[in-house]
């Protein structure tokens, strides 16, 4: 029996995905708090939410080709769990919770990933929509003052429309610090209990709308009433 070759984790053929699918891209980084405090019901609900996210996007043929998802977790350390892949290739991971909350570093990693992905799009002549960085946390940064640099980059980037930064606070989140990170014109949304599934349904519907928006069109995001308090 032939030996199996593990699929490499780094992209061996950069640009291949664009040759197969030249649709404009709608990139979205899920920046997920997987620190110890998320253990139990919250992390289980988050994992279920990710599966819902994939299912919801799969039901939309255009979104499936256009929405590109990347995941960065921060729990004990910052982990880029998956680099950008279109919804049709997105495999929802099973995340585990442990450790503290290096949020500052995680935010900077997410911003760097967005910048690099945009560069890739430009190189391959792929048009794209404004990227989203979508952070979900039940805590606050534990990596010293690093969040201050991250906050500055979030606010600058959001103001220059380099990306749109969203912050979803789960019960227990450090609202004071999060308010200093989050852009003032897009305030923190508070998750109602463990309604991750509803949250990801909303995110899927939002990304579907953004990914088919046309020049000059204002994107009206769906109502957040189903999951936020």
């Amino acid at each position: 029996m032939a030996e199996q070759i593990p699929y490499p984790t780094t992209d061996p053929f950069p640009g291949q995905k664009f040759a197969d699918n030249p649709e404009p891209r709608c990139p979205c980084v899920l920046l997920l708090d997987t620190s110890g405090s998320m253990s139990g019901a919250p992390i289980a609900a988050l994992n279920a939410g990710l599966a819902t996210f994939r299912d919801e996007l799969s039901a939309d043929s255009l979104a499936m080709k256009r929405v590109e998802i990347a995941i960065v977790t921060f729990g004990g350390r910052v982990t880029p769990v998956s680099s950008f892949s279109t919804a049709e290739h997105f495999q929802p991971p099973t995340l585990h919770s442990e450790g503290d909350t290096p949020m500052g570093e995680a935010i900077e990693v997410a911003i760097d990933m967005v910048e690099m992905e945009k560069h890739k799009y430009k190189t391959h002549g792929i048009t794209y929509f404004r990227p989203w960085i979508f952070m979900i946390t039940d805590g606050g940064p534990t990596d010293g003052d690093r969040w201050k640099t991250a906050a500055q980059r979030v606010r600058d980037g959001d103001m220059r429309k380099s990306f749109a930064f969203f912050c979803i606070a789960v019960e227990g989140a450090n609202m004071d610090v999060l308010a200093q990170i989050t852009p003032t014109d897009r305030p923190i949304k508070i998750l109602d209990g463990c309604k991750f599934r509803e949250l990801f349904k909303w995110l899927s519907a939002s990304q579907a709308r953004v990914s088919r928006s046309t020049p000059g069109a204002k994107v009206d995001l769906p109502d957040t009433g189903g999951w936020s308090v």
Binding site: E23, G125, R212, S213, P215, G216, K218
Partner: protein, 259 residues
């Protein structure tokens, strides 16, 4: 004697049908017999902004006004070879003023009539192209299709420029080119199918068979229904649910034109 044969249509995007929004694309054609020079074809199209409440009106007005301006110029002694960027600036300013008037009458901001604008003036000795915003002119040259200007977008796929923008007269692209016998104009709803974004070129296999079919048909009316059916077919609607407009023009430069 040169004869143009034309085929054009605008299709309301599925998303607009679903949301009860009218088609925001518009186009206009004029065959002009100027005092100076030979008969000239004016092809104009415009794509109203998705978010603007009266952009279907805006694109209509922009098209009709642009077409009238070009036609008046040619019919009152203007030579296609004398058209300059300054003329285009004047025309765009006139269109903008007209949109401003309509907006005031409707008690809305001019932004509500936002629309792109593509104007081509196709003569026997030269062609003039004016473009503001996305969409494209495509011309056939020695068997290859070329875009005149790459679509004008901002950084993101859902941003562009409009004739209602305050800096519209600075933003637009203008070019004088040699005459062409095969020309297409399209709005952004068809860009992803008709243009090769990696190479920033027109996708020749999209256009050449259509130019050939239009030449070969006994009359362009025969193609009107197949053309519309094709624009409504899943192979197109699966790729885009936006409004889409395609105008095709082929010229028979034969002395024994078949009328």
């Amino acid at each position: 004697m040169s004869m143009w044969r034309l085929l054009h249509d605008s299709i309301t995007g599925e998303s607009h049908v679903r949301d009860g929004i009218p088609c925001q694309d518009a186009f206009q054609v004029a065959n002009v017999s100027p005092i100076v020079g030979n008969s000239t074809l004016v092809l104009v199209c415009a794509d109203g902004a998705g978010s603007a409440s009266l952009s279907h009106l805006g694109s209509r007005i922009a098209c009709d006004t642009a077409c009238n301006l070009a036609q008046n110029f040619l019919e009152h002694g203007g030579d296609i070879n004398s058209i300059t960027r300054e003329h285009a600036i004047e025309w765009i300013a006139t269109i903008r003023a007209k949109l401003q008037d309509v907006a005031s009458g409707q008690h809305v901001a001019v932004r509500e009539l936002a629309s792109t604008l593509l104007v081509s003036i196709l003569g026997n000795t030269s062609s003039v192209f004016i473009q503001l915003g996305d969409g494209a002119f495509v011309v056939q040259e020695q068997g290859t299709c070329k875009v005149v200007f790459w679509p004008q977008n901002g950084e993101y796929a859902n941003t562009t420029f409009f004739v209602t923008d305050e800096d519209a007269t600075d933003r637009f692209a203008f070019a004088i080119k040699p005459p062409f016998d095969e020309v297409a104009v399209l709005t952004d709803g068809l860009q992803s199918l008709a243009l090769d974004f990696a190479r920033q070129e027109a996708y020749s296999p999209f256009f050449l068979p259509m130019f050939d079919a239009l030449r070969a048909a006994s009359s362009s009316e025969d193609l009107a229904k197949p053309f519309r059916d094709w624009l409504l077919s899943p192979q197109i609607t699966q790729r885009t649910d936006d409004d889409k407009t395609l105008m095709l023009a082929v010229r028979n430069s034969l002395t024994s034109a078949d009328g």
